[in-house]
Symmetry: C2
Subunit: 514 residues, 2 copies
C-alpha cells in the first residue's frame, strides 16, 4: 500500500514499482468496497466500512481529501475570515492584509499537501491507490477497476498500476467548474474558476465575477474586502436566487457595503480582451471590465471514469440515484453501485456528501436505509452568513403546499442592541398552513450558520410551529429573533384552522432593549 | 396616566398631583390585570393582555424594564463584549479600554433612563403606575392594591398614589442579591453586589469575587480582562457546579487564560478590612485580598409587597406556584394570582420570566395551559460562552434515569481548523438509555449560545438520538461537533437495546481538515 502511494502520488517522480505480487498474476485482487474519488465521501464511508472489517480501497489521482480542504470550502473560509477581520479593523493597507490572508489560506490548506489526509485513511484501515480508475461491471455483479497513473484522459491512458475486482463500487468523483455559454469566453485571457480565485497569490486591481450563487458571493466579498474593484453579474433578478428573497437582499446589502458593484437581472453576452484585462458586454448595454474574470456559474459532475458502466445520467448531467444512493442503470437501481456526493447532483455540499456517505456506509454494513435530505442546509459564509434549509416559499408553493410565511429582523433583538448591530439580519419561515410543519427557513445575520442549526433540526424533524413557539432562547442570544416569526406563523396557522388568532403578534418581539 | 408617571417617577422632584379623579372617591378603580413589578415579565404579559382588550396596570417603583436592561444582562453583556474585544486586541492600555467599556455599558443601558421602556408599555396600551404596591386579597376573589410613592418599606409607607381593585394579580417582583453568611461581611467596606460591579466607573486594582456561578464567572472575566488582579472563590469543587463537569472545566480554563486566580473547593470563613481593601480568610488557610469584594453568591426573591396575601413560600424563599404559575395559598392554587419570573424561583432568567409570562398571558386571554420548562436554557456569556439545557448527567441520574453520556471537543471540527481555534470547546449530551431521548446537554465554545439552540429544541421536543444523528450541519459550522457525540450516544443506546453498536464512533469525527 505504502509503496503504491509513494509511487504514483503527485509530487513524487520515482517510477512506480511493478504492481506484483498483487497484480502479478491474472486474477485481480478482490476488494469489498472500491471508492472512486478520495474526497469527503470516501473519507466518511471508507473508514466506517473498514472498521466493520470490509476490505476498502480508495482510488484518487489528485489530492486525497478532494475539493473541500484544498480548493473549495477551506481556502474559501480562510480567505473569508481574513477578509472579515480586515474589513472590521478598518485597515487601509490592503496589500499587507492580503498577504496575511494568503498565509492563512496556505496554512489552512496545508499548502495542498495531502499526506495528512492519506495517513488518516491508512490509520482507519482504508487502502489508498493513487491513480485514475476506468471501470467495468461484470455480468454476475461487481466488476473491475483498472487503476492507471496519469490523468483521467481516455485518449492517453497512463501506466497500469493495478486491476482490482470490486464487489461494491462507490462512485464519489465529485464535480468541476462549469463554463457558461458566453460568446468569446474561451478566447479571453485572465479567466479564473474558483480554483484560481482560491489559490492566487496575486491580488488583482479589479475583478469581474460571473454568477451570484454561493461561490460568486463569497469570493466577491473576499476580493472587494481587500480593495479590489469588484463587479458581480448575475442573470437572475437577485443574488442566491433559489432562496427566499430576503436572503439575496441581505447578501446584496452586505456585498455593496464591502464595495461590490452588484448587477442582477443582467446577462453577459460577450467576453473579450481589453480594458483592465477582460471586458464583458451585458445585455442591458453596459460594459464592465476587470483584470480577472471569475467564472462562478456552477459546477458539473465528473463522469469520465464511469463511462463504461452504462449508468443513467439525469438531465442535469449527474448520475441518477435512488433514495439509497444506488446508481440506476436503465431505470433500475443497482445493488452494487452507489453514487454519492457532487456526482449525483442531489446535495452538492461537503456536508451533503458526508451525509450520503453515512447512509451508504450503513448499507455496506448490512443496514440499508433511505437517505432523507429534508432540511439539508445550504450555507453561504459571507459576513453576515446565510443558512437556508428545506424549501423556499416559492419551492413549497410549487410543490403544492398551502404556505404561510413569517419573518423577523435581527435588529429588534436584545443581542443586536448590546452589540450595536444594525447590519442585515432576518429569518424567514415557510410553514405548511394545514399542518403547521416548518417546511423551510432561511436565516441571515451574525452567527446565522450557528443559530440556524435549530431550523435545520426543525425542518428535518418535521416539527410544527406549536412546538417551536414553546422553545426558549437565552437572553440575549441571536436566536431570540425566532420567536416573533414563529408566533406569527403559528397564529396564521391557527387562524386558517379557524382557531382564531391570538393577538400576540405585535407583542411578541423581545422587549428587553433599553 | 402620563401625569402619574411623571409625578412619581424616579428622577423627578415635583410633588405628585392629587390622585383624583381616579382615587378621588371611595370606590377604587377596577383593573382586569394588575402586574406588580415592571420587569421583563410585565413587558411580555402586559402588552399581550392589553392587546386582547383587558385593562392592564403595571406598578413599578424603580426602573421600568426591571433588572435585565439596567442592572443585569444588558450592562453585563456590554462589558463582556468590550472585555472580549480588548483581550482579543492584545491591547495593554487597560484604562482606555475600560473607558470604552463604560461608555458602551452606559449606551446599552440608556444611562438607566427608562423612559423608552415606559413609552413601550404606553404604546402597547398598558398603564404604568410608578410606586410600590401593598396588596390585599378580597374574600370574593380579586383584591386591592395600595400604590404608594417611596420605597417598599412597610415601616415608612410613602404617600398614597391610588388604590386599585384588581381581578387578576400577576406578581413579578423579581429578586435581589443574597448575601452569604460570612463572618464580618456586614462590617467591611468595599463590598459590591452585581449592581455595583455593573455600574462602577472605577476600575479597581484588585477584585475578590465570592461565588463561581454565572454572575461571578462573567464579572471575574470582565474585570480580569481589564488588568484587575482578580481572585474568584467558590465553595463547590468546580465552577458552575450544577452543570456537567466539562462546563466548569472549560470556564475555569477561560478564566485562568484571562488572568483570574480561580480557587474552587474552598470557603470564605471571615471577611475583614485590610490589605488592598478587603481580606478573606479561606478555610484552606489561605488569605486573599482585593480592593473590592464582589458578592456573587446568588439572588433571593423579592417578597415584600406580597406580605399581606397569605401566599405559600418554598423552602428556597420563593413564591410557590403550580405548573400554570398560579400562586399557592395553603397548598391550593389561586385562579386569580399568578407569580412569574425570579420571584417564583423556577427559572430565574430574563428568558425564563418571558416564557412564564407568555403562558400566563394565554391564561389571562382565556386559554390556560401548563408551562413546560423542559429544556429551559442556561447561558453564561464568558468567552467562549456556555449554553446548558435540561438535566446534567448527575441530575438525570438523581431523577432515576438510566443515562448514557457522550461528548465531543470542538477542536476536531473543520471550523476550528480554519479559525485556528484551540481554546475550550465541548459538547456533552445526557441521553436516556432506554428511550434515546436527549434529557440534557451542555455546550461550551465559540458561538455556543447560538449553535446550542438546537440542543434546547431537542430537549424541549423530547427528540431522540436516532433523529438527531440524521441532522446535517453545514461544513464548516461549529455545530458539526454535535454529530460524533450524537452518534456515540445513539450507538450506546442501540447497544443497550441489544441492537449491537455499529462501529461508527471512531470514524464519526468530521475529517475535513487538511
Amino acid at each position: 500500500m505504502a509503496s503504491a502511494q509513494q509511487a504514483v502520488g503527485p509530487g513524487t517522480s520515482t517510477p512506480a514499482p511493478p504492481p506484483s505480487p498483487r497484480g502479478g498474476d491474472d486474477a485481480p485482487r478482490e476488494v469489498d468496497v472500491l471508492v472512486v474519488g478520495g474526497g469527503s465521501a470516501a473519507e466518511t464511508a471508507g473508514p466506517r466500512a473498514a472498521a466493520a472489517g470490509l476490505r476498502v480501497v480508495v482510488v484518487e489521482g489528485d489530492l486525497v481529501g478532494g475539493q473541500c480542504p484544498f480548493w473549495a470550502c477551506v481556502p474559501s473560509k480562510a480567505l473569508l475570515l481574513a477578509a472579515h477581520a480586515h474589513r472590521a479593523a478598518g485597515d487601509e493597507d490592503h496589500a499587507a492584509a492580503w498577504q496575511v490572508a494568503v498565509d492563512r489560506r496556505r496554512e489552512a490548506t496545508a499548502d495542498r499537501d495531502d499526506s495528512g489526509k492519506a495517513e488518516g485513511l491508512a490509520e482507519a484501515g482504508v487502502e489508498l491507490l493513487r491513480g485514475w480508475a476506468s471501470l467495468e461491471r461484470s455480468p454476475g455483479g461487481g466488476g473491475l477497476a483498472h487503476v492507471r497513473r496519469g490523468g483521467p484522459s481516455p485518449e492517453e491512458p497512463g501506466e497500469l498500476v493495478e486491476t482490482l475486482r470490486w464487489r461494491t463500487l462507490v462512485v464519489a468523483t465529485g464535480s468541476e467548474p462549469a463554463v457558461p455559454p458566453v460568446d468569446g469566453l474561451d478566447a479571453v485571457e485572465g479567466t479564473w474558476t474558483s480554483d484560481e480565485a482560491l489559490s492566487s497569490d496575486h491580488l488583482p486591481t479589479s475583478l469581474l465575477v460571473l454568477g451570484g450563487g454561493a461561490v460568486g458571493c463569497e469570493l466577491a466579498q473576499v476580493y472587494a474586502s481587500f480593495g479590489v474593484r469588484t463587479t458581480l453579474v448575475e442573470t437572475a433578478p437577485r443574488l442566491l436566487a433559489a432562496e427566499n428573497p430576503s436572503v439575496g437582499e441581505a447578501v446584496e446589502a452586505s456585498l455593496r457595503a464591502a464595495g461590490v458593484d452588484v448587477r442582477t437581472g443582467v446577462t453577459a453576452r460577450r467576453a473579450s480582451s481589453g480594458g483592465d484585462g477582460v471586458v464583458l458586454d451585458l445585455d442591458d448595454g453596459a460594459r464592465v471590465e476587470g483584470e480577472r474574470l471569475l467564472v462562478a456559474s456552477g459546477r458539473k459532475p465528473r463522469l469520465q471514469c464511469v463511462d463504461g458502466l452504462g449508468l443513467d445520467v439525469t438531465d442535469a448531467g449527474a448520475l441518477a440515484t435512488d433514495v439509497r444512493y444506488r446508481a440506476l442503470a436503465g431505470g433500475t437501481p443497482l445493488d452494487d453501485v452507489f453514487a454519492v456526493g457532487d456526482v449525483n447532483g442531489r446535495a452538492p455540499y461537503t456536508h451533503g456528501a458526508n451525509y450520503q456517505a453515512r447512509v451508504v456506509a450503513d448499507a455496506l454494513l448490512g443496514s440499508p436505509r433511505d437517505g432523507d435530505e429534508t432540511g439539508m442546509p445550504r450555507a453561504v459564509y459571507v459576513e453576515p452568513p446565510v443558512l437556508a434549509t428545506g424549501m423556499s416559499a416559492e419551492a413549497a408553493r410549487e410543490a403544492g403546499h398551502d404556505v404561510v410565511t413569517a419573518s423577523q429582523a435581527s435588529h429588534d433583538t436584545g443581542r443586536a442592541h448590546v452589540e450595536r448591530y444594525d447590519g442585515p439580519g432576518t429569518v424567514e419561515l415557510v410553514v405548511d398552513a394545514r399542518t403547521g410543519v416548518l417546511l423551510g427557513a432561511s436565516a441571515v445575520g451574525p452567527e446565522a450558520d450557528s443559530w440556524g442549526g435549530e431550523l435545520v433540526l426543525a425542518v428535518r424533524g418535521r416539527l410544527d410551529v406549536e412546538l417551536l413557539a414553546e422553545v426558549v432562547h437565552p437572553f440575549p442570544a441571536w436566536g431570540e429573533l425566532l420567536l416573533p416569526a414563529v408566533e406569527d406563523a403559528r397564529d396564521q396557522v391557527r387562524a386558517r384552522r379557524g382557531e382564531g388568532p391570538r393577538p400576540t403578534q405585535g407583542a411578541a418581539a423581545p422587549a428587553h432593549t433599553a
